[in-house]
Amino acid sequence: MELRDLVGVIEFPHLQLLMPEIIVLLTGFILFSLDLLYKKAHHRLFTVVSAVGYTLALLYITLNPFLSGSTFYHLYVRDTFSSFLQFFMILITLFVLAFAYRYYQQKLSLYREFYYILSFSLVSAMFLASSYHLITLYVALEGVSISFYILTALLRGDFNSKEGAFKYLILGGISIALASYGAAFMYLYAGSLDLKEILTHVGENRYFLVLGLVFFLIGFAIKIGAVPFHFWLPDAYQGAPTPVTAYMASVGKLAFFAPVVRIMPLIEEHFAYAWVITVSIISAMTMLYGNLVALVQKDVKRLLAYSSIAHSGYILAGISVAKVIGLKAVLYFLVAYALMGAGAFLVLALLERHPEWQNRMEEFSGLRFSMPWVATSFMIFMFSLLGVPPTVGFVSKALIFTTLSFDRLWWLAFIMILATGISTGYYVRLVVLTFMKENSKPFQVKSSLAERIVLIVLTLSVVFLGAVPIIIWSFVSPSAEMLFKR
C-alpha cells in the first residue's frame, strides 16, 4: 500500500467541532496545573479561571449553534442535539460554580480538586451528548461516573458523604460492567462498535443484539436511577455536597439520558413494541416509587433526590413512545428538569450555609419571614416540579401527556396522574410550610451577588420559558427531527 492511499484513509480531525470540549478540557488542565504549581493559589482564582473557561465554551456554542458533522472516524458527532444539551450542561455548571465557593468555605473543607474534577466531569458529560459509538460512549460514561464518585466524597469529614460515594462507586461499577458486557454482545453481533451500524443491520438472529441492548440499557438505567435500579441515587445525592448534588441531578440527567435519546429513532425502527412495554413498565414503577418514598421523607435533600427519581420516571414515559413527538417532549423535559432541579438544590445549598440548618422539613417553616426572596424562588421551583402552570414543569408534563395520548398509552398516563397526585403531597407541604407557618426564630444567610443573580436567573427562566415555551421548543423540535432523519 502506498503512502498516498494510507493518507487517503486518515481523516483529518475537524477540531472546530470539538472546540467546546477542548476549551473545557484545557480549563481543567490549567486548573490542575495551577493546583500543582502554586500551593497557595487562592480559590477565587480557581473559580475565576473555571468561569472564564466555561463562558468561552458557552459562547462558542452560542455563536455556532448549527455546527454539525462527525470526526475521528465517527467516534464523535456534533449536531444541534448535542450543542443544545451541552449548552445547558455548561450553563448549569456555571451556576453551580457560583454556589460552590462559599459553600465549601462555610463547610471548612475547601478542596481545590473540586474545580478540575468538575471540568473533567463536564467534558465527559459533553462527550456523552455527542457520542454515537460504543467506545466514546463507554469512555465518557466512565469519565462522568468516576468524577461523580470523587465529587460525592468531597466532604471528607462527613460520614454521609463517604457512604454515598462508596455506594455510588459499587453500583456504578456494576452499571459500567453491565454496559460494557452489553457493548461486547453488540460487537459480537454486528462486528462493529458504531451504534448506528449495529442497529441498522438488524437481521434475523438478533438474540445477541437484544441481549446486548438490554445489558447496555440496564447500565444506563442504574445511572438515571430508574426503579428497580435506583438504590445508589438517594444516598449519593444526600451525601454529596449540595452544590454537587445540584450538578449531579441536572447535568447528570442531561448526560445520562442523552445516549438513550440518541438511539431512540433506531430502536423505533426495529424494536418499537418490546421497547414500549419494557420502558413503560420501568417508567411506571419509577414514577410511583419515587413519589411514594419522597412523600414520607423528613429530610428535604433526600426528598428532592427521590423527586429526581420520579422525574426520571416521567422522562422515561416520554422515551417509551419512541417517536419524534416523544423525543421532543423528552428533550424539553430534560432541559426543564435541569433548570428547576438545579434551582431547588441550589436553594438548599444556600440555606445549608446556616450553621444550624439540617435540611429538615420543619426548618422550612416561616422561611418567608426570614428570607422572603429565597422562599419565593423556592416556591416557584416547587410549583414547577409539581407542574403548576405557567412553569417549565407544567409544559413538560403537558408534552409527556401529549406523547402518551398520541400512542394511546392511557394506563401510563393514569399512572402519571396518580404519581403527580402523590407528589402534590410533598411539594405543596413545602410551600405551605414556607409561606403559611410562622417561625420561632428568624435567621439570615448572606448570599453573594453571583448567587443572587443565579437564583434570579433560574427562577425567572423557570417561569418565563414555561410561559413562552416556544423558546425552548424552537431548539427542541429541529433537534428531534434531525435525530429521526438519520
Binding site: F401, A413, T420, V428, M436
Partner: protein, 503 residues
C-alpha cells in the same frame, strides 16, 4: 362559531388592570394596598359594565371582543380572548364579586396582617378568573384554571381560621389532581385533531370540528367531567368544599363560592356539552339523576349543620346540583335555568358568606345558636339576611326562583316524575333556608350577647347592597339577563341538535 374581532383590546385591558394593581401593591408601601386594590377592582368592574354598552345583543351567540395573540404558532396555542353571552354573564359576575370581596376585606378584622400579599392575591385571582371565562383556547383556559388555585391556596392558608393549613392543602390537592385529568383530556383532543386534520390545535373553534366514536368520546368526556365534577362540586366529589369554605376568610369564601365553583359548571356547559354533545345526550339520564341526587344529599347535609359557614357551603353544593340537573336536561329551559342559577348562586352565596363573616366578626363564633334573636338588635343586617335567604330559597322575585322554576319546567318536558323529583329538591332547599331563618331570627333568647352590637354599615353595607340589588334585578327583570345569554344557550343546543341529526 362566529367571531367578532375587537377594535379595542377590552379584555386584555380588564385583565391587565388587576395585574397592574398587584404590581403597584408590590412596589408601594403597605398602607396603600387597600386603596390600590379597591381602585383596580373598581375600575375592572366598571370596564365590565361598560362592555355591556358595546356588546352586540343581536349577535349574543357570537364571540365578541375577540382577540388572538399567538403563543406557540406551531401547536396553535394562543391567547384567544372573547366573550359570548354566557362568558359575558360570568365576566360580569367575576368583576362584581371580586370588587365586593375586596370591599368587604377593607373592614374585616380577620385581615390584619400581611395586607400586601392579601390584596395582591385577590387581584391576581380576579385576573386569572377573567382569563378562565374569556379563553377560547383550551390550553390557555387550563393555565388560567390552574392558576386560580394558587391565590386561593394562600388566602385560605394564611388568613383562614384554625384548620386553615389542612383545608388549604386539601383544597389544592383535590382540584390539582382532578385537573390533571382535564389536562390529559385537552391534549388528547389536540392529538385527535392532529390525527384528523394533520395539525395540532387547542382552539375551541377548531376542536368543535373533531368527531369521535361514541366510546372514545365517552372516554374523553369523562376525563373532562372528573375535573369539573370535583370543581363544581357534585356529590360525592364535594368533600373538599366544606373544609375550604369553612376555614377560608370571608372574602376568600365569597370568591370561592361565587366564582370558583362557576368555573366547574361553566366548563361543563362549554366543554362537556359543547365538545361532546352526543356523549352528553347519551349520558343524559345518568347525569340528570346524579344532579338530583346531589341536590338531595347536599340538602340533607346542610340541614344537619350548626356552623353557619359550613351550612352555606353545603347549601352551595345543593345549588350546584340544580345547575347540573338543568344543563344536562339539554333543552332550552334547562340551559336557561342552569345559567340563571349559576349567576343567582354567585350573588346569594357571596352574600350568605358575608353574613356568616359578619356574624363571626361580632361573636367570634360560627355557631348558629349564638345568633338567636339578632333581628331585634341589628335590623338592617336582619333585613339583608332575610332578603338574601329568600332569594336563595327560590321565592318568586328572588334570584334563585328562575333557576329552580325553569329546571322544574324543563324536567316536565320529559316526564312529570322527573319534575316531581326536582321539585322535592327545591322543597329541601326551602326547608334548610327556613330553618336558618328560624334559628337566626325567630328563636328568642333571654340574654342576648348582641345587645351592644352595632348594625351593619359603611363598607360592609355597600358590599351587601352591591349584591342584594342585582339579586332582585335577576328576580324581577329576568329578561335583562336572558337577553345576554339566551342566544349562546341556543347556539349550544344547536350544536347538540346538529351532532344528533348529523350523526
Amino acid at each position: 362559531m362566529e367571531r367578532l374581532e375587537a377594535t379595542f383590546p377590552l379584555l386584555p385591558l380588564s385583565m391587565m388592570v388587576p395585574v397592574f394593581g398587584s404590581l403597584l401593591i408590590l412596589l408601594l408601601p403597605e398602607r396603600f394596598s387597600k386603596g390600590i386594590s379597591l381602585f383596580s377592582a373598581g375600575i375592572s368592574f366598571l370596564i365590565a359594565l361598560s362592555s355591556l354598552l358595546f356588546f352586540d345583543f343581536s349577535k349574543a351567540q357570537a364571540v365578541q371582543f375577540y382577540q388572538y395573540y399567538p403563543l406557540i404558532p406551531e401547536l396553535k396555542v394562543g391567547l384567544a380572548l372573547g366573550l359570548d353571552g354566557l362568558s359575558m354573564l360570568m365576566y360580569l359576575l367575576t368583576t362584581l364579586v371580586s370588587f365586593v370581596a375586596i370591599l368587604w376585606s377593607v373592614r374585616d378584622r380577620q385581615i390584619n396582617h400581611r395586607l400586601r400579599e392579601y390584596y395582591l392575591w385577590f387581584l391576581l385571582s380576579e385576573a386569572f378568573l377573567i382569563g378562565v371565562f374569556s379563553s377560547w383556547d383550551l390550553m390557555v383556559f387550563y393555565v388560567f384554571y390552574e392558576l386560580t388555585l394558587v391565590p386561593m391556596l394562600f388566602v385560605i392558608g394564611i388568613w383562614g381560621y384554625k384548620l386553615r393549613l389542612y383545608s388549604a392543602y386539601k383544597f389544592f390537592i383535590y382540584i390539582f389532581v382532578s385537573s390533571l385529568f382535564l389536562l390529559l383530556g385537552i391534549v388528547s383532543l389536540a392529538v385527535e385533531h392532529y390525527k384528523l386534520f394533520g395539525k395540532f390545535s387547542f382552539s375551541y373553534f377548531d376542536l368543535l370540528n373533531n368527531h369521535y366514536s361514541l366510546e372514545y368520546g365517552l372516554f374523553l368526556f369523562l376525563l373532562f367531567f372528573i375535573a369539573f365534577a370535583v370543581k363544581t362540586p357534585i356529590v360525592p366529589f364535594h368533600t373538599w368544599l366544606p373544609d375550604a369554605h369553612g376555614e377560608a376568610p370571608t372574602a376568600g369564601s365569597v370568591v370561592l363560592a361565587a366564582i370558583l365553583l362557576k368555573m366547574g359548571t361553566y366548563a361543563l356547559l362549554r366543554f362537556n356539552i359543547g365538545l361532546f354533545p352526543e356523549v352528553a345526550v347519551f349520558l343524559m339520564p345518568v347525569l340528570v339523576l346524579w344532579g338530583i341526587f346531589s341536590i338531595a344529599v347536599a340538602s340533607w347535609y346542610t340541614i344537619s349543620q350548626s356552623n353557619v359557614k359550613r351550612f352555606v357551603a353545603y347549601s352551595s353544593v345543593s345549588h350546584m346540583g340544580f345547575v347540573v340537573t338543568g344543563m344536562f336536561l339539554l333543552n332550552m329551559e334547562g340551559l336557561r335555568a342552569s345559567i340563571m342559577e349559576m349567576f343567582a348562586h354567585g350573588l346569594t352565596s357571596a352574600s350568605l358568606f358575608m353574613i356568616a363573616g359578619f356574624i363571626y366578626n361580632r361573636l367570634h363564633s360560627f355557631n348558629m345558636d349564638s345568633l338567636k334573636g339578632s333581628a331585634k338588635y341589628m335590623p338592617l343586617f336582619a333585613i339583608i339576611t332575610v332578603l338574601t335567604a329568600f332569594s336563595s330559597m327560590g321565592l318568586p322575585g328572588g334570584s334563585s326562583f328562575w333557576g329552580k322554576f325553569l329546571t322544574i319546567l324543563s324536567a316536565r318536558e320529559y316526564t312529570t316524575l322527573l319534575a316531581f323529583l326536582v321539585l322535592v329538591g327545591a322543597f329541601f332547599s326551602a326547608v334548610y333556608i327556613l330553618y336558618l331563618m328560624k334559628v337566626l331570627f325567630l328563636d328568642s333568647k333571654e340574654e342576648s350577647k348582641l345587645v351592644h352590637f352595632t348594625d351593619v354599615r359603611g363598607f360592609k353595607l355597600s358590599a351587601f347592597l352591591l349584591l342584594v340589588f342585582p339579586m332582585f334585578m335577576v328576580g324581577l327583570a329576568p329578561y335583562l339577563f336572558f337577553n345576554i345569554f339566551d342566544k349562546s344557550a341556543k347556539e349550544l343546543l344547536l350544536l347538540v341538535m346538529r351532532k344528533l341529526v348529523g350523526g
